[in-house]
């Protein structure tokens, strides 16, 4: 499956990227994450896809931004896999869906609600969007090492940001609201937009994937003050992902 040629959208080729790849949505966050690497070098920048490769604790690692939503995220996963990557960690932001998920907490996605259309081009909707247990456990170990408050479970991956934030504006408002409440009653921890697509594409490609998201806010809780909001950063979420890469590299025999 690995190809020699430069990939159409991410503009990377075999040898450009490590087997471990972090996947933020925001290109700006790809630059930020590269700042956590040693010897980071920019590989490519085209459309929403910004790729850097460097090392963490001696382990080669890459970051590629995916843009917003599953359609662009699975393009990144497909093309990175063709460059030789086999382990993907989405590093994102999300909104808490349970009152115990406080802004600033980290949510580790063990599975995702397929509330999007892209993954249906891969597998029927009955198939669970499930993360790799090895990568999930590495993220849990990472969260414990970083010392951040974390939760493990299901996230909702939606196609429409404003369908979540302003459902009353949509002609399908009733459906949006009843489904939102169903996800909460099923125990969903946080709402985001890419995990389901990434997990399902990964299942069909035979590669590993999981996700770690900062709970940037929570619409069930009182709004944060400006001061409180300023304290919430994605830095610890990035550190959790980096610790997970180190743990996986050790388990995979890449480093001692």
């Amino acid at each position: 499956m690995i190809e020699e040629k430069v990939q159409h959208h991410i503009r990377c080729k075999k040898g450009d990227v490590a087997r471990y790849v972090l996947l933020p949505g925001d290109p700006g966050r790809a630059h930020k994450i590269a700042g956590f690497f040693d010897n980071a070098r920019k590989i490519a920048e085209f459309r929403e896809y910004v790729t850097y490769t460097g090392t963490v604790g001696g382990v080669p690692v890459s970051v590629t931004s995916t843009g917003i939503g599953s359609p662009s995220a699975v393009i990144a996963v497909e093309e990175l896999a063709k460059c030789g990557a086999d382990t993907f960690i989405r590093v994102g932001t999300s909104g808490g869906m349970q009152t115990f998920v406080k802004p600033g907490d980290v949510v580790i996605a063990q599975g995702a609600i397929r509330d999007e259309g892209t993954s249906l081009h891969y597998l029927p909707v009955e198939f669970p969007a499930v993360a790799s247990i090895d990568v999930v456990n590495a993220l849990v170990a990472g969260a414990q090492k970083v010392g951040v408050r974390y939760h493990v479970g299901v996230v909702q991956s939606k196609d429409s940001f404003y369908g979540q934030h302003e459902p009353e504006r949509m002609p399908v408002a009733d459906r949006l609201k009843y489904r939102w409440n169903a996800w909460i009653r099923g125990g969903a921890l946080a709402s985001e937009m890419e995990c389901a697509g990434i997990f399902i594409a990964a299942c069909t490609l035979g590669v590993r994937a999981a996700g770690v998201c900062l709970a940037a806010g929570n619409q069930l809780l009182p709004e944060l003050s400006e001061e409180e909001r300023a304290k919430i950063t994605v830095d610890d979420t990035i550190r959790v992902a980096i610790e997970a890469v180190k743990a996986l590299a050790k388990a995979d025999g890449e480093i001692r």
């Binding site: 198939f127 499930v130 247990i133 999930v136 408050r149 939760h151 489904r179 169903a182």
Partner: protein
């Protein structure tokens, strides 16, 4: 309603299986095993395993009767359930023998849709999956971790050509294979989804057409996993979400 247990103390931990005949195969490992009830497909034994109070119960074949058992065990105070089942292999080149610990289940059934929309993933609890893996390793069992397919029609799987829906069945089976599913069985998806709505901790382990010795190993893997979980519960001092980290 169906399992006719008095609201007695069953404890928190249960091993469930389809066949009522498998209940004594589980409870043979209990101290002080006792039959509580046997009506319909629902046979319930209680006892202790390694000092932990455990339930062994049967749910019959398929999602509808499984959902009833899970609901009623939960109403009697059970909060951790592991399904031990039999299954057929899905892959052709690998994973044709041994045990499969479910990391998720294909919702190829319709009972769970009465609980949550189809987009919701049927997932076991991470802590139960990890306990099953630890337990299987400890017992030296051959095991794989992966997705299982939970179907409503047994003969739709083994004689698909006979069904008017043959092309659809064949196409979907191919999709489960290409998605990496490892085992085909009939109840895990229901257990995981009903469990999610009731706040239960669930897991599943299935035997890929093994012999009686492997069946016994699977049962011991499940019972030891419950013992591991019970040990962790004892260590947890607060009532916080069991899969949340330090505050």
């Amino acid at each position: 309603m169906h399992i006719h247990c008095e609201p007695e103390k069953l404890g928190r931990y249960a091993v469930i299986a389809g066949d009522p005949g498998r209940v004594p195969l589980v409870s043979q490992f209990f101290d002080a095993a006792r039959e509580v009830t046997w009506e319909h497909a629902y046979r319930v034994h209680v006892g202790t395993f390694g000092g932990v109070r455990v339930v062994a119960a049967s749910h019959g074949i398929g999602a509808p009767s499984t959902a009833i058992l899970v609901e009623e065990l939960a109403s009697l105070g059970v909060d951790t359930i592991i399904r031990t089942g039999t299954a057929g292999p899905v892959q052709t080149g690998c994973c044709r023998s041994g045990l499969v610990i479910a990391s998720g289940a294909v919702r190829d059934e319709r009972t769970s849709v009465s609980y949550l929309p189809m987009e919701f993933p049927a997932l076991p609890s991470l802590l139960v999956v990890n306990a099953l893996v630890q337990s299987a390793r400890g017992l030296g069992a051959e095991y794989h971790v992966g997705v299982v397919q939970s179907k409503d029609s047994f003969y739709g799987e083994i004689e698909p050509y006979r069904q008017p829906t043959a092309p659809v069945l064949a196409q979907r089976w191919k999709a489960w294979q290409m998605g990496g599913a490892l085992a085909s069985e009939m109840e895990c998806a229901t257990l995981f989804i009903v469990g999610a709505t009731l706040g239960l901790r669930t897991g599943g382990i299935v035997d890929l057409m093994g012999d009686p010795a492997q069946m016994e190993t699977m049962i011991l893997v499940a019972l030891n996993a419950l013992k591991i979980v019970a040990g962790q519960d004892e260590g947890a001092s607060t009532g916080r979400h069991p899969e949340s980290g330090p505050v």
